[in-house]
């Protein structure tokens, strides 16, 4: 699989629909505490709404620490072998993002399985804060946004067929060079 589930926290409203649909899909219950994705909110300093979900790392810290090799990166997804897992939760502690969860009703760690390539949370996010994009395109929008914010953007208004339009362009100041 060459697609990645990515998060755009600036778009997230904190509604937690992702949590609900994840729990319904995997456990058949209305319980956001059984989701493999959770929205962490901080306020007012800083204002952050951050959905936290497995990044399917190619060198997964969770798999490296797993004493029974129950976590394996296969075809783009870090998959849990439920037979071999001993529920030691070393993976929960090792994940640098805290993206593996535990629920008292259930022994196994709860982690994202990408819903077999068509994640429910991506489909149901009303804000487009969760996206499934090709690996090759990762970072593209960030790069563009960063470029736009680093440079001094200027605006010119002009009229085309009587309609007012605005063109934006970057002008790097000479003194800054």
């Amino acid at each position: 699989m060459s697609k990645k589930l990515t998060v755009i926290p600036e778009q997230c409203s904190g509604c937690r629909i992702c949590e609900l649909v994840c729990a319904i899909k995997h456990f058949g219950v209305n319980n956001p505490k059984k989701a493999a994705i959770r929205v962490l909110t901080t306020y007012p300093q800083p204002v952050v709404r951050m959905p936290i979900v497995c990044s399917q790392c190619k060198v997964p810290a969770c798999a490296q620490i797993c004493p029974t090799d129950s976590l394996r990166w296969i075809d783009g997804v870090v998959q849990l072998d439920e037979e071999d897992c001993t529920s030691c939760y070393k993976c929960v502690e090792a994940c640098p993002f805290g993206a593996i969860y535990i629920h008292p009703d259930y022994d196994l760690p709860i982690k994202c399985d990408m819903c077999g390539g068509d994640p429910e949370c991506v489909k149901k996010c009303p804000k487009g804060a969760l996206r499934l994009i090709p690996e090759a395109a990762l970072g593209e929008s960030r790069r563009l946004n960063n470029v736009l914010s680093y440079t001094q953007m200027k605006e010119i208004e002009f009229y085309e067929k009587g309609e007012k339009k605005v063109i934006r362009y970057a002008e790097v100041g000479k003194e800054e060079l």
């Binding site: 600036e10 778009q11 997230c12 409203s13 904190g14 509604c15 937690r16 629909i17 609900l20 649909v21 319904i24 058949g28 219950v29 209305n30 319980n31 956001p32 505490k33 059984k34 962490l40 909110t41 306020y43 007012p44 300093q45 204002v47 709404r49 629920h103 008292p104 009703d105 149901k124 009303p126 804000k127």
Partner: protein, 609 residues
């Protein structure tokens, strides 16, 4: 009818005086009849009143505070994050309730609790912590004087987790300001009817919940299919994106255009500089993010940041329409940054923005008209649009300093102190009027006059429809619409969901009967649910009638009869007293109450279970 799921059938009752917490089973018959939320609350408050021979001091330990989500709270359907606070209101001395969004109600349900009731008074400032099945009362005197935002942070630090939900009061609640609110998720409030003052009087700084239980649903597949339809309808609605972008702030332009925007304490109903404080200005200059309650695609909350000028650095979730109107045009403020600052201040202090805006507006006009003297104002002048003086007065109200001590007790005390203020302040039954001008719409007047908690639009909001229908709307239609709203809108508060998808995007109410069916397994029609909701309206009327309310109290602020708006499309309009009395008689008749507005004796028998 029979309930198969949807409830834990658990009522958690806490006595702060005795320091006890007790879980009581809830009978099926109770669940079927009262549904949840405000329904549970009204019944428990009624029983408590009977036990105290109808003598309850709203700020006394005997006032029972009910916190109740509904059977739909937290399940997969649009905007299921609501939770009601119900008690005898310190603002009106009558039945009161207020609902909050955010995530508190879901977490409360996940502890296995359908309804929480709190009585008594803790010996020192405390926090009630419901941690799944365990309930503890933890003294936290260090929270004294802390703002809602600080308190939420300190509590999470003390408990060592961010994974809890906190409903807290600020200094306004601690000081029993009669329009203090309860704040959750830093900026979602149970704003009206003074629920925060009750917690303050009980020495209860906060209720903290942490739960992990599955929410009981009878038919998950059925619910999901119904919810998908509802979500799809909303997302395809032509105004859906506008709602995500502006939330309730889009109402400012509408209200100004229609001439119903409170301006200078309702002296006027259009605001010349409305474009400086409208949704477009907010989006272009201040908005930095969206905020939603649980499971809501509309995300009506706007997170704003002031990036320049003297309020630089102010971050606030909001304001929404009411807040912006009452703290903006109503006070003559045209600087959106100042409105944001006042909103943040009210969030921190934990006081209701509608009542605060109304009372500050009345104070300014009272001083302008010479009813209040400079010494009444502690030597500090105040006038329309004077941001510094207004922000200072808001502080004084919450801290009960100088004149703030009187203003903090709300309309009744203000009128008691300065009888002429009766003509200035807009209130019904002691609750300050919200931000829709009823002079343009007699049915809205009827809605305010007959709302069970006072002059609030939560029970019926018919103003838009009346303005569309214009002169063609007969009295019968007006009364029928008010009564239909008073059945349907409280039903949302009983089910524990938000009404905005219905009122703003036109999501069919039929969906809610289906949601209820899938969650509870109870095959009930919308009509039956509306009937149950109507019973609760009878019950809250019965409560109020027993506490002395009758026809004489179902009235409107003086200005509505006597002072028309000065400019705008409704310039010169007032409501005629005779027209109104005619409408009120028709309303009583259709409700089956007597000429004096008292429900018949058989109503009481319904609630003797």
């Amino acid at each position: 009818m029979s309930i198969k799921s949807g409830y834990f059938k658990q009522h958690l009752h806490v006595d702060l005086t005795k320091g006890t917490a007790e879980r009581r089973p809830i009978a099926d018959a109770f669940i079927e009849k009262y549904i949840g939320g405000r329904g549970f609350g009204a019944k428990l408050v009624w029983d408590n009143l009977k036990n105290h021979d109808f003598k309850i001091d709203p700020l006394g330990p005997e006032n029972l505070l009910v916190v109740a989500p509904g059977p739909l709270t937290g399940v997969y359907l649009p905007s299921s994050g609501k939770n009601s606070f119900v008690a005898i209101s310190p603002a009106t001395g009558l039945y009161g309730d207020s609902s909050m969004g955010g995530g508190f109600g879901i977490e409360l349900r996940q502890t296995g609790t359908d309804v929480l009731s709190v009585t008594g008074k803790a010996p020192e400032l405390s926090v009630l912590f419901i941690d799944n099945g365990e309930t503890t009362i933890i003294p936290m005197p260090e929270l004294k004087g802390k703002s809602c935002l600080e308190a939420e942070g300190m509590i999470k630090e003390r408990l060592g987790t961010h994974a809890v939900h906190v409903a807290t009061i600020g200094i306004g609640g601690e000081n029993t300001v009669r329009f203090a609110c309860v704040n959750t998720d830093w900026s979602r409030n149970a704003g009206r009817a003074g629920m925060g003052a009750i917690m303050g009087a009980k020495n209860l700084k906060a209720i903290v919940v942490r739960g992990h239980k599955d929410l009981p649903v009878y038919d998950v597949a059925g619910l999901v299919a119904e919810a998908e339809q509802a979500f799809k309808y909303m997302e395809e609605h032509k105004y859906f994106k506008l709602w995500q972008q502006e939330g309730l702030m889009n109402v400012i332009d509408y209200a100004n255009e229609k001439g119903i925007l409170p301006t200078y304490n309702f002296k006027d109903s259009v605001f010349a500089r409305h474009d400086q404080i409208n949704g477009t200005t907010m989006v272009n200059r201040y908005k930095i993010g969206d905020s939603a309650c649980f499971s809501c695609p509309m995300c009506c909350g706007n997170i704003c940041l002031v990036k320049s000028g003297k309020y630089t650095g102010t971050v606030v979730e909001g304001p929404e329409y009411e807040t912006c109107a009452m703290l903006g045009p109503n006070l003559g403020i045209d600087n959106f940054a100042a409105i944001l600052s006042a909103t943040r201040l009210c969030d921190e202090l934990g006081i209701d923005t509608i009542s605060t805006g109304s009372i500050v507006g009345a104070t300014i006009e009272g001083y302008e008209k010479g009813i209040l003297s400079l010494s009444d104002l502690d030597g500090k002048e105040i006038a329309w649009g004077e941001e510094d003086a207004i922000l200072e007065l808001i502080q004084k109200i919450a801290h009960r300093q100088g004149i703030g001590d009187i203003l903090a007790d709300g309309s009744y005390r203000i009128i008691e102190n300065w009888p002429e203020m009766d003509k200035i302040i807009l209130q019904v039954k002691g609750l300050e009027q919200s931000a829709y001008d009823s002079r343009a719409s007699i049915s809205m007047g009827l809605a305010y006059a007959t709302s069970d908690i006072g002059a609030h639009h939560t029970r019926a909001w018919t103003i838009a429809e009346e303005m569309e229908e214009g002169q063609n709307w007969t009295n019968d239609e007006k009364v029928d619409t008010v009564i239909y709203h008073q059945k349907l809108r409280p039903l949302f508060d009983m089910l524990g969901v938000c009404r905005l998808p219905w009122i703003e995007l036109g999501l069919s109410e039929q969906h809610y009967a289906n949601f209820y069916k899938y969650v509870t397994g109870n095959e009930t029609s919308l009509e039956e649910l509306l009937g149950l909701s109507n019973d609760i309206y009878d019950l809250t009327r019965l409560i109020n009638a027993r506490l002395g309310v009758s026809r004489k109290d179902d009235t409107l602020p003086y200005k509505v009869w006597a002072n028309p708006p000065l400019t705008g499309p409704n310039a010169g309009k007032v409501i005629g007293r005779e027209d109104f009395q005619k409408l009120l008689s028709l309303y009583y008749q259709k409700r089956g109450w007597d000429e004096n507005g008292i429900p018949p004796a058989e109503v009481e028998k319904k609630f003797s279970d």
